[in-house]
């Protein structure tokens, strides 16, 4: 029995650490939703784009140079998105914006693969693949580094949104574009800043996931995994994205370890969605989300 318990704990720990990486991807969604009330379906494609760009630049510029170059690239991308997609769709219903981001996602996927090729690429950032051994439980070094990076990022972002004027302005924009405009918050800059930050988050997520999975098309499918994270944690909450990610990661691992062998496999892939469905019925706004109260 102790072997089973140890197995469960190991699964739980590795699940939590994987969950942190899901949270990173979910974080990108939350940021954009927090600041512009747009659900950015293209976040996965942006992660793929960032990872491919990084893998493409590293041979020429080295790791640090490539990081700087990719950050610049994501800022340019944010500028472009704001100009071409967000600005014309400013007063449209949110469903239109959502569908526009679906289109954007397709475009970015095709573009990044046309530019950098579809072969999987390795991404090496200098973290060895040997696991730590803590009291009989194996912890992956990469997962640990990912968790630490994510923690730092989250703290930074929470501080940004709570304590800085820009952050408050962005939250105001997310509540109501037109009211924010009326008060004098520069909508265009706000959106560009948000999408650029989300782009940076995509870079970090891209690095960690790219090292883990190899940089290839399936990276954009990681975003699909992040959707249950958002449902469970709440679409607008940064701590929610983290907690949701932990829950989803742990669920996936535990289901994969204990239930999958009995049903022929594959359940672990959609178990987060089942959990999200349950949440949708009983608590649609997630654990930390804000309830949308519609006024007639």
């Amino acid at each position: 029995m102790s072997g089973d318990l140890l197995f469960a704990v190991e699964l739980g720990v590795s699940g939590v650490l994987v969950g942190v990486m899901y949270s990173l991807v979910a974080l990108g969604f939350v940021l954009i939703y927090k600041a512009s009330a747009v659900f950015n379906f293209a976040q996965g494609a942006m992660t793929l784009f960032a990872a491919l760009a990084l893998a493409g630049f590293i041979p020429y510029l080295g790791l640090v140079g490539a990081l700087v170059a990719v950050c610049l690239l994501m800022t340019l991308l944010a500028l472009g998105i704001e100009r071409i997609i967000l600005r014309p769709l400013v007063a449209r219903p949110p469903l239109s914006l959502f569908m526009a981001t679906i289109g954007l996602g397709f475009f970015l996927e095709g573009f990044s693969q046309a530019l950098w090729g579809t072969q999987p690429k390795g991404l090496d950032i200098g973290i060895p693949d040997t696991p730590f051994d803590v009291a009989g439980i194996f912890i992956s070094r990469l997962d640990l580094v990912g968790a630490i990076v994510a923690a730092v990022l989250v703290l930074g972002l929470v501080w940004f949104f709570q304590r800085t004027t820009t952050g408050l302005g962005l939250r105001a924009v997310s509540d109501d574009h037109e009211a924010a405009l009326a008060v004098g918050i520069p909508l265009r800059q706000a959106w560009t800043v948000t999408w650029a930050i989300a782009g940076m988050v995509a870079v970090v997520a891209g690095i960690l996931w790219g090292t883990r999975l190899g940089v290839q098309f399936s990276l954009s499918l990681v975003a699909l995994k992040a959707l249950p994270v958002l449902i469970i944690g709440g679409l607008e909450s940064i701590p929610g994205a983290i907690i949701g990610g932990l829950i989803v990661g742990a669920t996936e691992r535990l289901v994969g370890g204990f239930i999958d062998p009995h049903v022929g496999g594959g359940v672990k892939d959609f178990s987060p969605y089942l959990l999200a469905l349950v949440f949708l019925i009983f608590r649609p706004y997630g654990l930390f989300g804000r309830e949308i109260i519609e006024r007639v």
């Binding site: 659900f39 071409i84 997609i85 014309p88 769709l89 449209r92 949110p94 469903l95 239109s96 959502f98 569908m99 526009a100 679906i102 289109g103 954007l104 996602g105 397709f106 475009f107 970015l108 996927e109 095709g110 573009f111 693969q113 046309a114 090729g117 579809t118 699909l224 959707l227 249950p228 958002l230 449902i231 679409l235 049903v263 022929g264 594959g266 359940v267 892939d269 959609f270 969605y273 089942l274 999200a276 469905l277 949708l280 019925i281 649609p284 519609e294 007639v296």
Partner: protein
């Protein structure tokens, strides 16, 4: 001058309620139907018919189902291809395993898909917008898993069921032309039904729900009934389309064909074609079916000019890029799609050569 309503006097209730009250419209649709019945089989090759026109009709049917859900009732659905898959498996299992005749098994597949669609539409009673989209995405994954893992439904590891030869009361359908006629009949019939549904009380209720559902409920429109009805009817159309696909195009029911990418393509079809319009389903389906071929030709021409070989990867990626760019373009420039453009053209012709 050409397209005018003056001089059209409706002298009976039937004339007033006609689907195409304006004579030019009516003649146009009749000519189109005649062309579809007589002209297409003679003018097009077997290949074109089998790989272009039949899928075009089937996708138009499925897109119309999605149009009911998303275009008329405003319930965003990203799992429509899964309902097509349910209809496909339902129809093929009824036909191949239980010996149900062809047309009833298509109907049965559609009904099974409607039941499954209603089940996954239950969350729509509590959530909307993006949250509903996620739950329909969950439907896509769950249905795929169930079909591949439940042995009774699928055949094993690959879960593909081959369709036996098609027979309607002893008459064997094995040439593309015969399959085309089968598809054409079913699609035209269901589309006429669609055109009537959307201007009936049900259609008006859906549009009220789409525009402002709280107000609709206050007016007395039962959200429960009409939202579930939207899912049921939309999934029925998807199910019949999926069944037709397995019978006439793939000759097998294979869940891998009804994947997430197809769901997105269907959404793209109604965005580009026009949400909330029967003509839009046709236009959007035609556009998306023809797009890969068009890109193929254009890239091949460019390749010849530049002296380089065009790889299949580049073709696939360009298709994604153009598809995405078109969705964004249509959402910005013409949110009501090609159908709206057609409407604008007709309005222009109504007044031409006068400016107003």
């Amino acid at each position: 001058m050409f397209y005018r309503e003056t001089g059209v006097f409706r002298e009976s209730y039937a004339a007033d309620m006609a689907l195409f009250p304006i004579p030019l419209d009516r003649w146009g649709v009749l000519v189109l139907l005649l062309f579809a019945i007589l002209g297409v089989p003679y003018l097009t090759s077997q290949y074109w018919m089998g790989s272009l026109i039949i899928p075009f009709l089937i996708f138009a049917l499925s897109a119309q189902g999605l149009n009911f859900l998303t275009g008329y009732a405003g319930q965003l659905s990203l799992g429509h291809a899964a309902f097509m898959g349910v209809g496909a498996y339902g129809a093929v299992i009824l036909y191949a395993r239980y010996g149900v005749p062809l047309l009833p098994s298509l109907l049965g597949g559609g009904l099974i898909a409607a039941a499954v669609g209603t089940l996954f539409g239950l969350p729509a009673l509590r959530i909307k917008g993006f949250y509903l989209a996620v739950s329909t995405l969950a439907a896509q994954f769950i249905i795929e898993w169930v079909i591949t893992h439940v042995k009774w439904i699928g055949g094993g590891v690959f879960a593909t069921i081959d369709t036996p030869p098609l027979r309607i009361s002893g008459w064997l359908l094995d040439t593309p032309v015969e399959k085309y006629y089968l598809t054409l009949t079913i699609v035209v019939g269901l589309m006429i039904f669609a055109k009537n549904v959307v201007r009936s009380r049900v259609g008006r209720a859906w549009m009220a729900i789409r525009d402002r559902d709280i107000a609709a409920e206050i007016m007395g429109i039962s959200l429960f009934r009409y939202k579930l009805l939207a899912f049921a009817v939309g999934s029925f159309y998807a199910g019949v389309a999926g069944g037709l696909m397995s019978f006439t195009y793939y000759a097998a029911a294979n869940i891998e064909e009804f994947n997430l990418l197809l769901s997105f393509r269907l959404l793209g079809m109604i965005i580009i074609g026009g949400m909330g319009s029967v003509l839009g389903s046709f236009l959007g389906a035609g556009f998306i079916v023809v797009l890969p071929i068009f890109i193929n030709q254009v890239l091949a021409a460019f390749g010849k000019l530049a002296g380089r070989l065009v790889t299949t990867d580049l073709l696939a990626n360009t298709e994604f890029m153009v598809f995405g760019a078109l969705i964004v373009f249509f959402l910005i420039a013409e949110p009501l799609g090609l159908a709206r453009l057609w409407q604008t053209l007709k309005n222009y012709l109504r007044l031409w050569p006068f400016p107003y």
